[in-house]
């Protein structure tokens, strides 16, 4: 009972945060709303018994990635977003579109998923289980992920880390 109430409350917070993210004009407010979404998602994971995922969600998303987001927004000192004609059209088309999409997906999932009930904590969520899965069942994807991270770093270094070379001769403009 307590679980259900908490689950609903944090679900509502997550949705509200997501909506606020879109409504806010200032990028830093949007970023903070996203943090709220991440944090409430993590509580949802915790309530579902996935302790490890919950903690990692906070540490990685809210604690590391979003910090960099905020950092970049602060560095760029991005101002308020301005409404253009394009964005007005996007609002007119987008809001009904999103509503219809959300209702459709929700309806499909609620009406037709043949899911049953599972007691909290019955599913694997303990760190030991996750460790076993990562280093045994999913060893190869896990190792490939390390290459993926390496590539991301390399990409950043290649594209941003070196001074742009000047060509010896000017190029013909396309």
């Amino acid at each position: 009972m307590l679980h259900l109430a908490l689950f609903t409350i944090f679900g509502a917070v997550a949705v509200a945060g997501a909506v606020n993210l879109l409504v806010q004009r200032h990028p830093i407010n949007s970023a903070l709303s996203l943090i709220a979404v991440m944090a409430s998602l993590s509580v949802e994971y915790l309530l579902l018994g996935a302790e490890f995922v919950a903690a990692v969600q906070v540490i990685v998303y809210a604690g590391a990635i979003m910090v960099l987001f905020v950092f970049v927004i602060m560095l760029l000192n991005a101002g308020e977003e301005e409404l253009t004609r394009g964005s007005r059209v996007a609002i007119l088309v987008g809001i009904p579109g999103v509503l219809i999409g959300a209702v459709l997906i929700a309806w499909t999932l609620v009406q037709h998923s043949g899911t049953g009930e599972v007691a909290i904590g019955a599913l694997p969520g303990r760190p030991e289980t996750i460790g076993w899965l990562l280093f045994h069942d999913f060893l190869l994807p896990f190792e490939v992920t390390s290459i993926l991270v390496l590539i991301a770093i390399m990409g950043a270094v290649v594209l941003a880390g070196r001074p742009v070379p000047t060509s010896q001769q000017p190029r013909k403009e396309a």
């Binding site: 903070l32 540490i59 602060m74």
Partner: protein
């Protein structure tokens, strides 16, 4: 098992006690710092209010509350107000998962000496402390002042960088204990080698990890010699330049609360938690673990202050190079070697 009602009541009581204890500890850490730094610099420190200046924290608190709360005109108000609260809330929350002693039974209620015992306690503490950076970053940005912004940027870059080596230095300990639960980690450090050296992690193969943890902890809490975010010679007061009165006090409290959390964690993870020699009558035996714990935390805090009174400040590029080029590889090496040894031994 406790019934829901007793559970809630016990939890509330424990929370209140924990918060009161923490705030008192924060206040007296400040006093301790002023006193010790004073003696290091060959002066007395606070002496006027109460015996040995012991009532000084009260006077300071009163002053902060009564002071005029200035809000500079160009700040981004919602975040300017929220930032100190964020900082202090996360700083205080993390204490709730720190166990300060074994289980106790009072009036038939058997309960651990912490607000709640979670089996991934350490991860949650790391998560909460990693959120604390927002307070500093947002304060710097929303103040709309160049010193604040620079301080905020420095703080967030520094905290994100040192968080990595901090986290990695803990993994060795986790591997030795095989658990994320702080209680299990402490239990794994019971006993002695050859009857006199305690089996604390710091004497048990994790010396390097402790060193890395110590360095990262100083940087995480923005303390000397890594207090670049509030370097008064370059940035006035860094991210809290534009803050005054209670809002400023909140940052102050957050910083000291973070120091205490870090000291508690060091005690739990490396210094054997509440383990120590037990003797005397049963009542004394019940109190002694808590005493040992507090003593170790005190020593760690004293180290903080001692360092502050002794060392000069780093330059910012040195600070970053130290994190990424020295501490991080060292932590990884420690992790690899610990993992190898544990794997070979089992």
């Amino acid at each position: 098992m406790l019934s829901i009602t007793t559970f809630v009541i016990v939890s509330i009581i424990k929370s209140v006690i924990a918060i009161l204890l923490l705030l008192t500890a924060v206040a007296y850490t400040v006093w301790l710092e002023r006193k010790v730094v004073g003696h290091i610099q060959n002066r007395w420190g606070p002496t006027r209010v109460g015996p040995f200046g012991l009532l000084q924290p009260l006077a300071d608190g009163l002053k902060f509350i009564l002071k005029e709360d200035l809000t500079p005109p160009h700040v981004y108000k919602p975040l300017y107000i929220a930032a100190p609260m964020i900082a202090v809330i996360f700083a205080i929350t993390s204490i709730s998962l720190i166990p300060i002693g074994n289980w106790v039974s009072i009036a038939g209620i058997h309960t651990p000496l912490e607000i709640t015992d979670v089996n991934i306690g350490l991860l949650i503490i790391l998560g909460i402390t990693s959120m604390g950076v927002y307070g500093v970053a947002l304060a710097g940005w929303s103040s709309n002042s160049k010193y604040s912004l620079l301080g905020g940027l420095r703080a967030s870059a520094q905290m994100v960088s040192y968080e990595i080596s901090l986290g990695l230095s803990l993994v060795g300990v986790l591997i030795m204990a095989g658990s994320f639960s702080l209680r299990t980690i402490v239990d794994a450090q019971g006993g002695t080698f050859w009857g006199f050296i305690p089996r604390w992690n710091v004497f048990h193969g994790q010396e390097v990890a402790f060193f890395v943890y110590l360095m990262s902890a100083f940087a995480e809490t923005n303390r000397v010699p890594f207090d670049l975010p509030e370097a008064e010679t370059e940035l006035v007061a860094g991210y809290h330049t534009e803050y005054s009165a209670m809002k400023f006090a909140m940052f102050f409290m957050a910083e000291y609360a973070n120091m205490i959390t870090v000291a508690c964690l060091a005690t739990l993870l490396f210094l054997g938690g509440w383990h120590g020699p037990l003797f005397g009558p049963p009542l004394l035996q019940g109190i002694l673990p808590v005493f040992w714990f507090v003593l170790k935390v005190f020593c760690f805090l004293f180290l903080y202050i001692w360092v502050r009174g002794t060392l000069p400040r780093f330059r910012y590029d040195q600070l970053m190079a130290f994190a990424w080029k020295f501490l991080f590889p060292l932590a990884v090496a420690n992790l690899a070697i610990t993992g190898l040894i544990v794997a070979l031994r089992s």
